[in-house]
Amino acid sequence: MASMLSILIPLLIGLFISVAIIVREGRWGEWLLAIFLAPGIGIAISSVLYFFWVIVFQPFYLLPGYLALEAGLTIILAAVVWAKFRRTILPPPMAFWKGWLAARPWSFRTWIGIAGAFVLLVSLANFVEDWTLAFFAAPDGNWDAWGIWNLHARFIHSGELWRNGFSAEMTWWSHPDYPLLLPGFIARVWALIASSSQYVPALVELCFILCILGIIVASVGLLRDWKLAIFAGLFTLAILYDSLNMQQYADMPLAFFILATNLLLWLVDSRKNQPQLLFLAGVMAGAAIWTKNEGWALLLAIVSVESVIILVEKPKFRDLINGWVWFGAGIAPLVITTLVFKLCVAPPNDIVDSLSAQDVLAKISDLSRYALIWQSIADQFFKIGLLKVGLLPVLIGFVLVVGWNKIPRSTAWIGLRLIVIALVYFGIYVLSPHRLEWHLSTSLDRLFDQIIPTLILMVFLFVNSLEDIS
């Protein structure tokens, strides 16, 4: 019972929140999008609650009380959703297929879409099989999983001495300052099921991976058309294969939150008068910060791009403040949680702690570092993803074949945010205290993987719909 509740409750918490905010017209795409956004929301909230529970009560104490706290939150959210949707908004079960079948006679492009759906399903089955093989080959995950993320979860789960795992005595490469969304949630499930099962971190990772795919397919299907959604899914699956080389890392959860934040900010522009979307975008951005330090780069990107939007679009002051209040209400709890962890529990970050003004100047003025970083980026550009010729060149080829009419501003803002994030990553490499070749070789591909799902979403939000092309 506790095992089932430990998984079910966060999923329900996330589902009630996402349904209340995302579902408006009751379309299939809205429901799917809400379902795929839900696990990330629920995991983030549960992780925060459990972190404070551990701080106050230490692990293993009053766990029934903790479960009651989460259950109470679930019931409150269920009541909110019930109050909002008294009349049913479930889509007619056959509406999608009826509309689809009525479109006959099918064009050649429809048959290509059907073939694409077949390739996507076969490839997805293949991916799950490969993921299963990879899991049994390394059930504790790869290096960073057992050296950082699961190690932290084990410390939290260990009992009264859990803070030792986040002391300055830990070696730098176990990164005791890394935030705790993933370790906190894993430790929470371990505590509730009374077992540090290897399946927990692995399945949490798989959940994030499949939700990234689901969000992209559902959102492109909802906002554009289903044929584009299938190709978006194929591109996404090709990049998700990289996760097999970094099992149980926090990079895919971070990719999920960067993707979800950008999608929700895009929806804010397309759906006027629904500021709750900003609240949810804030939650997702906060969850990114609570997942990895790179989440701060996302926040910087959001603030920078919003500043540009203020200059370009000149919104009314009242609307501006209103929007920031909603966004702030979503992000604040997670940022505060991260700051509590950073200030009260964790030692200083190894990169920040090692910087001196003299060192910074020396590294900034060292042109060989820039050359090495650029060279590594160029190498990854042609290498990243599972496709035989590199995913990014193929994505560019797809855009050129399909074409585009006009890039909407809200889509361009996504690109601008990604550029800011990429610049922050670049700057971190320039200032890295570690041997640069090693730092690049062990992390650059993961940074690409963090932002490419969002890049794929952006591309499929502006390319031509396949039916639009004559």
Binding site: V119, S123, A137, W146, G147, T171, V394, W438
Partner: protein, 139 residues
């Protein structure tokens, strides 16, 4: 060209299908997975006098080569732990990480084979387990 888009889409689909469902990649994954599946899986270490919290390195040897399994985790007095993977020694040493351990505990799976590597890497054995029991092995 009239069917430029259709030809392009079919080529994209073919590329995805061949790349993601490549039988050679699939076979490669199995081959890659197999040696790891054969490595010893679970051990018990009972140590009488170790720090309450320590970072642990577990060294093991497989197939007569100097491949190492390493595992860094919380150590509290007596605990089960896993040796999930094999890493190449040069791969680890190139990161320069060994010298950074505050505490570590070398568990001697094969003392004769292990000692030269420990000396070569400059490691200092702080503690070693009093007893090691293999609980489960996939071999």
């Amino acid at each position: 060209m009239k069917y430029r888009l259709e030809i392009g889409l079919i080529l994209f689909l073919a590329l995805f299908f061949i790349s993601i469902n490549d039988p050679f990649v699939y076979i490669g994954n199995i081959q890659k997975a197999s040696p790891d599946l054969r490595t010893p899986a679970q051990y018990e270490c009972i140590a009488s006098s170790v720090p309450e919290t320590a970072q642990i390195l577990v060294f093991s040897r497989s197939d007569g080569t100097f491949d190492w399994s390493t595992y860094n985790f919380l150590f509290t007095r007596s605990q089960y732990f896993l040796v999930p993977r094999v890493m190449n020694y040069t791969e680890i040493s190139s990161t320069g990480m060994f010298g950074k351990y505050k505490w570590f505990l070398a568990i001697r799976m094969d003392a004769q084979a292990l000692d030269p590597i420990i000396r070569q890497s400059g490691l200092q054995v702080v503690k070693s387990c009093d007893t090691i029991t293999v609980l489960k092995s996939a071999e």
